[in-house]
Amino acid sequence: MSSASRFNPGDPVTVKFEDRPGHIRTPWYIRGKTGWVERVHGDFRNPESLAFGRDGLPKKTLYLVAFNPSDVWGQSAGPKDKLLVDIYDHWLESAAEERNGHE
């Protein structure tokens, strides 16, 4: 689907902490949090552009990113529980240096 995605399943990533107006599909609660890529969904038109009647191009790679609930909320009810969020490429940065090993 995605010929050359920036990240692959297993890669640790951090969601950018940005605060700007517009049709942002990155939930506030996950900004600044670190997880890992679970799946590469493929390339999709950018909703931040589509929402304003533009063409949404260039397409952005969409990732399924997994988080340990304890890394997001500071606690987790079930030890194996996961929180999974679909996040576009331009909202992610590599967390390879700050994190070694996951799951």
């Binding site: 939930p27 969904h41 493929g42 999709f44 079930g78 194996k80 529980d81």
Partner: protein
Amino acid sequence: MNEAAKAEHGHDHPKHELSYCAKRIYAIRDLLIEKGVVSEKDIQCQIEYQEARSPANGAKLVARAWVDPDFKTRFIGDPKSACAEMGIDATAINEFVVLENTERVRHMVVCTLCSCYPRPILGRPPDWYKSFNYRRRSVVDPRGVMREFGLNLPDEVEVRVHDSTADIRYLVLPVRPKGTENWSEADLAKLVTRDSMIGVMDPLNAIPE
């Protein structure tokens, strides 16, 4: 019936007092028709299309996946073409992902940003799915939300909450209830509730006759 109003617009408006938003919607509708952007028939067709989609579509897919392992593989591998095979039009969905529940892993779907929902498969989302309460709490305390639906999960079960924030629409494939080994596909479909395909509940139990 207000014949004057009907003659003016060619269709009836409700006779009771309308709210501000309802008045605005009717005004926009009338303008779109007047300017020829859409026809009254288009609107009626769209309403019928929206109403025709219901959790029965999802139940058909799940029941087939329970009785036919090959179909299940196709349903998980390429959900849209599996839908087409069953005569269900899922082309309106950008990307469709099926999440298979097992005894060890449970999925639950929410859209914390709005109300993203696999409408071609499940129809319109229930009001609670769109409520701030569900959207806020399902990502923080999914087990607590499930308990309120009557589902108590042991700690060793992995709960995976999917916040469907983008182009993907998720459907949960629940675990087939025990004691249904000899059931027909049609009877199985009756056990598949809407809420079990959102992931907050189990399908109905098999009640011995």
